[in-house]
């Protein structure tokens, strides 16, 4: 028995490892495409979302969009130097609040993307890369195409988006000046408070 275990151990381990390795890590461009198409299909077909049903829109964002993002990394980028002043608990809280703010801001705008199409630009990546830039273009009849780029990083759970750049403007680093001002006024806790106040205000507006 022991002998047979020994005999099978390495082949089995090798097999197991190769299976684990082959478990498909979705490449960055395919991830972005999948998320975009999921959202566009929902926005084009779902009447409730088109009419601005915020419950349904939030549900769509929570299931289809959020899993593709790394909010802790995004929040770290938005805070810049001040990120290191935060305790692990504060970091977690900040990331959740920043996520809630972005979700509320942009899910509200989703219904406007009905008549837009997305063009995916050619994507190239070298083997072993842990950082990738996926470029797309939003095309709307009668106006100039808008560049929409996603920065992704490779993590243990696969590729995750950590920045979205619209026409050269990073939605994440655009908060740097604002956050720095808040932190210099009231410290990390001050920023946490103004973020939650802002989110409360947005929720009241929706009611």
């Amino acid at each position: 028995m022991i002998l047979s275990m020994k005999r099978w151990f390495w082949p089995l381990l090798t097999l197991f490892c190769s299976v684990a390795q082959a478990a498909p890590v979705q490449p960055p461009d395919e991830l972005v495409r999948a998320v975009t198409e999921n959202v566009l299909t929902a926005v084009r077909t779902d009447k409730d979302i088109q009419n601005g049903n915020s419950q349904k829109t939030l549900a769509l964002v929570n299931t289809k969009v959020l899993p593709a993002f790394n909010f802790e990394r995004m929040t770290g980028l938005a805070l810049g130097r001040d990120w290191n002043k935060a305790t692990p608990a504060q970091k977690k809280q900040l990331a959740e609040l920043f996520r809630d703010l972005l979700v509320r801001t942009y899910s509200n705008a989703l219904s406007q993307y009905r008549d837009q199409t997305v063009r995916y630009k050619p994507f190239a990546m070298k083997a072993g890369d842990t950082d990738a830039l996926v470029r797309t273009e939003i095309i709307k009849p009668g106006s100039r195409a808008i560049q929409l780029d996603y920065s992704l990083g490779l993590e243990s759970k696969g590729w995750k988006i950590y920045d979205v750049v619209v026409a050269g403007v990073s939605l994440v680093t655009n908060y740097r000046d604002t956050f720095r001002e808040e932190v210099s006024k009231g410290g990390i806790d001050g920023l946490i408070k103004s973020l939650s106040d802002k989110i409360k205000k947005l929720d009241e507006k929706r009611k």
Partner: protein
């Protein structure tokens, strides 16, 4: 000939204004603490003045420009709005193309000329953007970017009513672009038509920004700071390309 001289005079006026502002701001920089005194990444030593101008602009927008843009969206059907936007845009291809050449981008300059030729003829005076269908992409160059490519520094952040986020260099560039925009020169002798075209241009430009209003007010803690960050990033990206 007279028209050429007028255009030259206005170009000179715009450049002089830019140079004066650059000097004034250079002095402000010497007197200040070097980073604009707000402790932020943005170089904004004139923040007090800018915030006042920002408030003026918001006021004008709330009572006049935004309602006009909303009415325009409500009354004019989409195909007509697209035609209007294309008409103004088509003529801007003259400036975009010229600036592309001045920045040493002959390919983009020639594309602009081809666009102008196609859209002004097959596209019926620019009402239809046929060139984009043919994958001749619209450029994005202006004289402020040309000055940047030539090594002119931007100077401090400047916010002005009607112009929006700018700086001395880009303001001078904006002046030169306006002075050389062929449409304005073409209707110079007909003030009523010129004024209507200026107003329509402003209204359609504002209408294009309407969808962004909610996003900006939802996203920002302080609208001034948020727009300043976005404008600086956007400008850097335009110059980099």
């Amino acid at each position: 000939m007279k028209r050429m001289l007028q255009v030259c005079a206005r170009v000179l006026a715009a450049l002089t204004l830019g140079a004066t502002l650059a000097l004034v701001s250079a002095q402000a920089q010497e007197n200040g603490d070097g980073n604009g005194g707000n402790g932020n990444g943005a170089y904004d030593p004139l923040e007090g003045f800018n915030r006042a101008m920002f408030a003026v602009n918001e006021g004008i927008d709330q009572v006049a420009l935004k309602p006009a843009a909303q009415a325009y969206e409500a009354v004019v059907p989409l195909p007509a709005r697209v035609g209007v936007a294309n008409f103004y845009d088509n003529i801007w291809d003259v400036n975009r193309s010229g600036n592309a050449f001045l920045q040493g981008k002959p390919r983009e300059g020639l594309t602009g000329l081809a666009r102008l030729l196609i859209n002004s003829t097959i596209g019926i005076f620019g009402l239809f953007d046929v060139a984009s269908e043919l994958e001749l992409e619209e450029g994005d160059e202006d004289f402020g970017q040309t000055l940047a490519v030539w090594g002119v520094p931007d100077g401090p952040y400047l916010f002005l009513p009607f112009v929006g986020p700018s700086n001395p260099r880009d303001l001078a560039g904006w002046g030169v672009d306006q002075a050389t925009y062929p449409l304005w020169a073409h209707v110079e002798d007909r003030p009523a038509l010129r004024n209507s075209l200026v107003v329509l241009g402003a209204v359609r430009g504002r209408a294009a920004l309407l969808p962004a209003d909610t996003v900006i007010s939802d996203a920002s803690f302080d609208k001034y700071t948020y727009i300043r960050s976005a404008a600086l990033q956007r400008r850097a990206a335009q110059i980099r390309d």
